[in-house]
Amino acid sequence: MRVLQRFYLIEVMSGVALTAAHFFRNMSGHVRHSLGQKGARGAVTIQYPEERRPYSPRLRSLHRLVQREDGSPRCVACMMCETVCPAHCIYIVATEHPNPEIEKMPARFDIDVGKCVFCGYCVEACPEDAIRMDTGILEFASYSRRGMVYTKEALLALQPAGPDGRPQSTIPIPADREP
C-alpha cells in the first residue's frame, strides 16, 4: 500500500469524485439528448420488470414437457434425463400406456427447480424431444422448498416463449404462495 492510500479520507474523496463525475456526465448526456442533440448519450437503464432485454434464443429457462396431439406427455419415462441429471432433481415414476405402440409413460414427473442447475443435460439426453427449456420463464420463487417442485401437470401446461423471447404462459404460482 502506498503512503497516500494509507490516509483513509483521501481515498474516499477520490471515490466520491469518480462517482460524481459519472453522474454529471450521464446527466448532461441525457439532458442534451432530450434537447435534440442526437449524438449525445447517457448510460442506459432498463426498467425491469416492465422493460426487458431480449433473451437469446438459446437461453435455458424453466423446463416444460412437450405434449402429444392428444395432450398426453410425449415423455415415455425412459429415465435418461433422470439418469444424466447431475443435480438429481428429476423424479419420474413410470406406468403403462394404454396404447401398446407407446407402452410407457410417466405417472409422476417432478422437477425440483430448487436443486436444478440449468445445465440442459436433460434436454440433450431426451430421445423423444419431450423436455425442453424454452419457456423463457426465469422468475420462479417460493416461500418453501416444496413449492419449488414442479409436477407433471404444471410442466405440461407451459408454452414455449414467443418469437421475442417473452414467456407465453403465465409464471406458475407454486402451491404454497398466495397469488
Binding site: 419415462a77 425412459c78 429415465m79 415414476v93 401398446p100 407402452e103 410407457k104 430421445p127
Partner: protein
C-alpha cells in the same frame, strides 16, 4: 484331451468342448445369442462365427467341437465383417424402442452393437410390425418385434421344464415366438425365459417399468424359499428410492451354480421376497402389557429377556427355533441354551398344507436351513414343548419366526399353550398371529439385510451377503442372541457373522474346516455330507 490354439494361445480342453467354451477359458469372448450352456445347441443366430485354419469360410463356434491341432482366430477382418453383417441382419426389423424397453442397459443387442456392430444402417423400407406387450403368462410379457428368434426360450420350455408351451410360428421375417393354442406360459419355472432372453422380447411383468436396471446393485445371495438353496443375485435399488414405491429389493435373479441349481430358479423363489419390504416388518423391540404395546430400547428388551431366562428354571423354558435362521444364529442360540442348560428346544413345525415338490429344484421343505438346524443338534419335539406348555410346565416360551397359530397343529391347542405360558418372546423379521401374542417382540433383520450361511438339503453350506441395511432397529438374530449371552454373564460375543461361523466350525464336527473364505461364492459340502 484335444489341444488347440485360439488367437495364438494354446489350451487343452476336455473332448466335446465347443469353441465358445474353449475360448472362454483363454479369456476370449466370442459373441453369441442362441448358444446357452444349459440348453442344446441350435446354431440359429450365426453370430459366433470364427475363422479356423484350413476351413474355407467362417464357421459357427457353438456347434464346432475342439479338435486336436485346431487353430482358431476370432478377430480376423473376415470374422469382424461377418459379425457386423449378422448384427445388421438381426437389427433389420428391430423397433429400436430402447427408451421404453426394460432390457435396456442389460441388452445383448446394445452391447454387441457397440462392440461388434457400429455400422451405418442401410434399411430404408418399412419395418415388419408384430404384436407388442402381449402377456404370455402370469410372469412373462412378449414383445415380438424385439425378438431375434434365437429360440432359447423355446428350447428352455422343451428341454428344462418339458412343458413345450412356446414355438416359432410363420416364416421368413414374419416368424415370431408364440404360445401353442390353448396354452399359457405358466409352468413353475416360467420366468427363467426372461433371464435367458438376450434381448427385450421377453420381459418380467413383475419388474415391468419398476426400476431401470442401471440403478440396481447386485449382491450374491441364497434363495430362502426352500431347502434347495438355489444361488441367486439380489438386485437392490438404493439410488432412486422413489421408484417401485420405495421397495429396496427390486428383483431376484438366478446365479449359475452347476452343483445346486444350474442356471435356473423357480418362480415361487423368484417372487418370494415380498416380506422384506412389507408393512408387516417389525421395526423396534416392543413390550406388550395388558393389551398396550410400547416400544423399548434394545438394552431394556435384552435385560428383560435375559432376566427371565436367568430367573426361571431351565426346564421351564421352551425354545422354538426356526429353520429360516442362518447357521450362525442357530449356533448363537445353542450357546445361550448351553449356558442355561435349557433342553426343551426344537425347530420343526408342520405346515398347514404340505409343501409343493418336484423332481427338479423345488423341495417340499420350505425352509433353507433345516439340515443346518439338525446338524447343530436343535432337532427336538416342538409338539412336546407345546404339550408341556399346556400342562403349565413352561414359564417362558421363545419363538423364532414361526407363526404357531397358522401351523399344522390345531389352533386351539396352540392357543391354550400360549395362554398357559407366563412369558412369550417372539423374534423374527415379520409380525404374525404369534408375535401378536408375545409379551416381548425382538425384531430380526431379514435375510437380505445381513450376512450368514444356510445348509441346503444336500449338506452344502452356502453364503448369503448383506444387500441392504436392516429396517428400523432390527438386528440379525446372532446379534440379539449374542447380547442375551453377554447379559447372561458370558465374557463376550462375536461381533460379526463371520466370527460366529468361525466358532461354529471349531465347535461342530460337521462344519469342521469350513470358513467364509473356503465356502466362497458357490458353497462347500459339510464334512458329513447329505443327511
Amino acid at each position: 484331451m484335444p489341444k488347440l490354439t485360439i488367437n495364438g494361445k494354446e489350451i487343452e480342453v476336455p473332448a466335446g468342448t465347443n469353441l465358445i467354451e474353449a475360448a472362454r477359458r483363454v479369456g476370449v469372448e466370442i459373441p453369441h445369442y442362441c448358444y446357452h450352456p444349459g440348453l442344446s445347441i441350435a446354431g440359429q443366430c450365426r453370430l459366433c462365427m470364427v475363422d479356423i485354419e484350413k476351413a474355407p469360410r467362417p464357421t459357427i463356434a457353438c456347434n464346432t467341437q475342439a479338435v486336436d491341432g485346431m487353430v482358431v482366430w476370432t478377430e480376423t477382418d473376415r470374422v469382424k465383417e461377418t459379425r457386423r453383417s449378422v448384427m445388421e441382419f438381426h437389427l433389420i426389423n428391430h423397433p429400436l424402442d430402447c427408451p421404453v424397453c426394460d432390457q435396456a442397459g442389460e441388452c445383448w443387442l446394445q452391447i454387441y452393437y457397440m462392440k461388434h456392430g457400429l455400422y451405418d444402417p442401410r434399411m430404408t423400407d418399412e419395418k415388419v410390425h408384430k404384436p407388442k406387450a402381449v402377456p404370455l403368462g402370469p410372469h412373462v410379457m412378449l414383445d415380438a418385434e424385439r425378438c431375434i428368434l434365437c429360440s432359447r426360450c423355446v428350447r428352455f420350455c422343451d428341454e428344462i421344464t418339458r412343458t413345450g408351451e412356446l414355438g416359432i410360428f410363420n416364416r421368413g421375417d414374419h416368424s415370431q415366438i408364440g404360445l401353442f393354442p390353448g396354452t399359457e406360459l405358466a409352468n413353475k419355472y416360467s420366468a427363467n425365459v426372461v433371464d435367458i432372453c438376450p434381448v427385450g422380447a421377453l420381459t418380467d411383468r413383475d419388474f415391468r417399468f419398476q426400476v431401470r436396471v442401471w440403478y440396481l446393485d447386485s449382491t450374491k445371495s441364497i434363495c430362502p424359499g426352500c431347502a434347495r438353496g438355489c444361488n441367486i443375485e439380489v438386485h437392490t435399488n438404493r439410488r432412486r428410492p422413489h421408484h417401485a414405491e420405495g421397495r429396496r429389493v427390486a428383483r431376484l435373479k438366478p446365479r449359475p451354480n452347476p452343483d445346486v441349481n444350474g442356471w435356473w430358479i423357480c418362480d415361487a423363489g423368484r417372487y418370494g421376497y415380498g416380506a422384506v419390504d412389507d408393512k408387516s416388518r417389525l421395526l423396534a423391540p416392543s413390550r406388550r402389557e395388558g393389551g398396550a404395546v410400547t416400544d423399548a430400547t434394545w438394552d431394556e428388551a435384552i435385560a428383560a429377556v435375559a432376566g427371565v431366562l436367568a430367573r426361571v428354571a431351565p426346564d421351564e423354558v421352551g425354545v422354538v427355533a426356526s429353520p429360516q435362521m442362518a447357521n450362525e444364529d442357530l449356533f448363537a442360540l445353542r450357546r445361550v441354551l448351553e449356558r442355561r442348560g435349557i433342553r426343551r428346544v426344537g425347530f420343526r413345525v408342520p405346515p398347514r398344507a404340505p409343501g409343493d415338490e418336484d423332481d427338479f429344484l423345488i423341495r417340499a421343505d420350505k425352509h433353507p436351513n433345516s439340515l443346518g438346524a439338525s446338524l447343530l443338534g436343535l432337532d427336538g419335539d416342538v409338539a412336546a414343548i407345546l404339550a408341556a406348555a399346556r400342562a403349565g410346565q413352561v414359564k417362558c416360551l421363545w419363538v423364532f419366526g414361526h407363526d404357531l397359530l397358522a401351523s399344522g397343529w390345531p389352533e386351539t391347542d396352540v392357543d391354550r399353550a400360549l395362554q398357559a405360558t407366563e412369558l412369550v418372546v417372539f423374534t423374527g423379521p415379520n409380525a404374525n398371529a404369534t408375535s401378536e401374542r408375545a409379551q416381548w417382540v425382538l425384531p430380526a433383520a431379514a435375510w437380505v439385510e445381513r450376512d450368514g450361511t444356510y445348509t441346503n438339503c444336500a449338506g452344502r453350506v452356502q453364503r448369503f451377503r448383506q444387500a441392504a441395511d436392516p429396517l428400523g432397529r432390527a438386528l440379525p438374530e446372532w446379534d440379539i442372541l449374542g447380547r442375551v449371552l453377554v447379559a447372561l454373564g458370558a465374557p463376550a460375543a462375536p461381533p460379526r457373522a463371520e466370527r460366529w461361523f468361525g466358532e461354529l466350525a471349531t465347535a461342530v464336527p460337521a462344519f469342521a474346516g469350513l470358513s467364509y473364505r473356503s465356502i466362497g461364492d458357490v458353497g462347500q459340502p459339510t464334512a458329513t455330507g447329505a443327511a
